[in-house]
Amino acid sequence: MRQFVERHRVWAFIIFLAVAAFLWLIFAVWPDWLVDSLGRKKTFVNTLLNGITLAGLYFLVASGFTLVFGLMRNVNLAHGSMYLLGAYIGYEVATASGNWFLGLAVAFLAIGASGVLLQVLIFRRMEGDDLRQTLVTIGISIIAADLMLAVWTGNTYQFEPPEWLFGAVTLPIISVIKASGDPVYIKYPMFRLTVLVVAVAVGIGLWLFLNRTKLGMMIRAGVNDRQMLAASGVNVQLLFAIVFAIGAGLAGFAGVIGGTALSIAPGEDVRYLLASLIVVIVGGLGSVTGAAIGALLIGLAEQFGLAYFPTYGVVLTFLIMVFVLAVRPQGVMGGR
């Protein structure tokens, strides 16, 4: 960092100013001219937080997607179905047992197991045939969507998270000062902050796993050169199964988190598949860091779009994708 400051004085100064202005936007009480031009501060800060927390959710879904691709070159278009199935399974377990955390755990394990099954029974047979694997995942997602509709119908489900995770918390950010001089603080849903914390934890966990464990080292080696890894005596098939389990499990895990923050209904599979696709296209396929950056960009774009120009929110997301593809086809953090 110090090196950066010494080398690029001007840039460092600009970045410093931007960060300072940003912090000021969040913590200061907005003067009238700013309210006139940007609208109420409450809207801005809430939208910002919404964008970041939504990014957390997107990261949870997309990290599994990108992890699987990174090692196996498998574009799993059934990832959205795994998300939705995880949510439904988690819901059934959580309602039956009355324990939300149990639902979360079972969703992770069950979808992880389904991932292993897919890998062992199907993808293993067509290794190296990327396109056919992808087509298979499309077929699976068509059938899965229809069967889930048969079992859980078109109803909307919502989880009941533990009481302490529900409701609003008051943040130490002043929204406006009332005429009486009392500050009005911004309230924010507790669960959404939890989503962010979980996402950060999962992100750090993945990083530690990939960079600090032996297994992670093998995975990274596999990403770089699969043949070489196999030649050096590592059981590649086992490694694949483990990674698929983690990737799929993360989708199921995200299903419960997302289902609690929002809700579960048919069609969510396509929505989260699309989100994952755009996040990894923007961030760079195969890179977990890229998924985090992509998720942040897309999450913020979606929420600011929704709050400030609802009609064209989708287009903003899409423009980001096209722009990144035009400038850097392999994505922000993509290596190849």
Binding site: V75, D130, I140, I143, L277, V314, T317, L325, Q330
Partner: protein
Amino acid sequence: MDARRLLSGNFSFADLHPGVLLVIVFLLAYPGFASDFFVFQIGAYTLILGTIALSLMMLGGYGGMVSLAQLTVAGLAGYLVAIVGTNSVGVMGLGWPWWITVPFAILAAAVFSALIGAISVRTEGIYTIMITLAIAVAFFYFVRQNYVVFNGFTGFAGIEPPTLFGVYWRDPVPFYYLSLTVAGGFYAAVLYASRSTFGLSLQAIRDNPRRMRALGYDVTLHRVFAYFLAGLIAGTAGVLMVWFNGRISPGSVGVDIVIDILVIAVVGGMRHPIGPFLGALVFVLLQNFAIDLIDRERFNTVIGLAFLLVVLFSPDGLLGLWQRVRPKLRFARTARYEAGRAEERDRQGAGPLEQT
């Protein structure tokens, strides 16, 4: 293949298999004995869906680029017909005459397709399917939200084909022959193009882009041009589609239909241009009559299972299945079978599903 020889000049009727002749006669005579429903909703619709899937087959089969945005391209052409032509909704409808509207819509669709190509071909092969899927879904969301140009959720209605030479072109029989002409024309054109210099280079690029680049070919340009051609095909089919329905709305370009087109192409077979039409026929028959045979509720499971089984066990679709079964059924004619060298070459050349 016979059509190819027909086009390349060294064609004689002796080459023409009786089956082909039978099919041509059947297709031409079809409206003579089929009910309007079968002519229009089964016949014409099969040809339209088949043509859209044909554009996917051309990209995927010869170019190795499986684009999920072909229906989107067709949808754009359909939308443009409503926007610059006439509609009954009272939004847009610039009222251009059909002879400007139609070429404009098709050309714009082809340019759109080329742009999609330009965005997606710069990346690695498997990216194509992801990017085109993302584009298709984004287009769906966009037209659903945009009221100024695309009239949002409601879309457009009252879109009429022109009345020409005293014929109303949406009447079942004229519309059928119109669709047959378009489908047949593109079918022959794709067959012909696959043997042209461009088609051969495209297939070579599919098999080994690096080598082709080293040989001095502009790989990107070839691919983008292929997208442009596919856009012409899909765009024309899109115009027919909007005439067929008389309306277009976001539901017409939804994700499920985008996937349906892929299902049609893959189930039919991506090696030969007849595959998409075969797939479309099976699909349309199922779509219309599944409700009489099984519970309509699980229609998508049937479609998905058929797709999955084909991908798992017969990567070349129904076409591949037939080709595998045929020699066993008729081993006596094996000699003649092997004489069809052109076909043999085709088999070696094609097969993106195994070679990418």
